[in-house]
Symmetry: C2
Subunit: 224 residues, 2 copies
């Protein structure tokens, strides 16, 4: 795989893009990072061509061929670079469980998390409440384990830990503390952050908060 | 795998449950079918225990252990019963493409399809319009191929063909014709229906329509 050409179309603040960065770092894959402008009518020709269906990042371009959707990309990376750092469990039942929980994360965190800072009033409160509830379900699934797959960092850990970069934003807009709400989940996050693949792939929390404040003022706040 | 105990918790009209029925039929797996009552406060203790997170069908119980979410179950079936009828492609890039399209089907058909019969007015029209648009995207992806994976019936075919059982309902409520809108997709459906695994797993279209009419009258139509 030494001659492979790997390009990642991404946006720095995307927890979905971060998943791919963590997975590539786990596997030690060298790649070219191409930051994308996601504003309407500003998307690059390359992004439109490589993800003609959704026009979204992340896109992994492997030897000229695009793979889209972050959880799909991470599975692809695990299958292609299978010589080190296995991400999905080899046991078939555990694999199905891992896919189930990544699907849960995909469906149950992003939208409610977004509401918790981008919305206002009741919608914002409902988003915050559901975000905390759903993270508690994930904390329950972790239980006493070191990582979601057991002793080693893997697919579910990658899918979830990148949301941590937004925790400071959720807490600031929602006026609550994850440390208080989900202490075991926060201990797991600290274990994940000891891995360079994670700590070097996640942007600074304050930078994300500044971005969210800018986005809310620019796009989400109703005038008047 | 002869001694395996396989139980499927399902509901006859669910296109997601049908996916599992088709996959099990393709693999020749003998299983016990347990029809579930999905009405609020009527769900079985078994369903609540086997899918404690979502309380939804389908659930495949394999030797006492549950697997949830239809696309996950079909992948699990393909990995466990791997001696015949491979469903996912072996080529890693094609596997990623197959997962991408199943994800597209999961995200882009059910909700809009439901709106096209359960909603009214503008919402209903928008659902119908988007349903047809999204099926045209899927027709475009099929192109000249016999099945989505090429010459053999597989993962994407299973995920999509089960929606056919609802086509008559969508057409009747929406007053349009899929034959006119997506003729190549309909030709593909006829190819799929030649397979006993499909034809025997999909319920009668008229029975689905009767069910939809009942559901709309009972639950979705605003009184007054």
């Amino acid at each position: 795989m030494a001659d492979d050409e790997v390009i990642l179309l991404d946006f720095w603040a995307s927890m979905f893009g971060m998943r791919v960065r963590v997975a590539l770092a786990e596997k030690g894959v060298v790649y070219e990072y191409k930051e994308q402008d996601l504003r309407k009518d500003h998307k690059s020709q390359l992004l439109l061509e490589m993800n003609p269906v959704h026009h979204k990042i992340p896109v992994l371009i492997h030897n000229g061929r695009p793979v889209c959707e972050s959880s799909n990309i991470v599975q692809y990376i695990d299958e292609v670079w299978n010589d080190k750092a296995p991400l999905l469990p080899s046991d078939l039942y555990q694999r199905a469980q891992a896919r189930f929980w990544v699907d849960y994360i995909d469906k149950k965190l992003y939208e409610v998390g977004r509401k918790s800072w981008a919305a206002d009033g009741e919608e914002k409160e409902a988003g915050k409440k559901e975000l905390i509830e759903n993270l508690k379900v994930l904390e329950g699934e972790l239980g006493d384990k070191c990582f979601y797959g057991g002793d080693t960092f893997g697919y579910v850990d990658i899918a979830l830990v990148t949301f941590y970069s937004w925790f400071h934003t959720y807490e600031t807009f929602g006026n609550f503390s994850f440390e208080k709400e989900c202490p075991n989940l926060m201990a797991w996050i600290r274990r994940c952050l000891k891995k360079e693949s994670v700590s070097k792939s996640l942007p600074d929390s304050q930078k994300i908060l500044d971005f969210a404040v800018f986005m809310k003022e620019t796009y989400f706040t109703k005038s008047g």
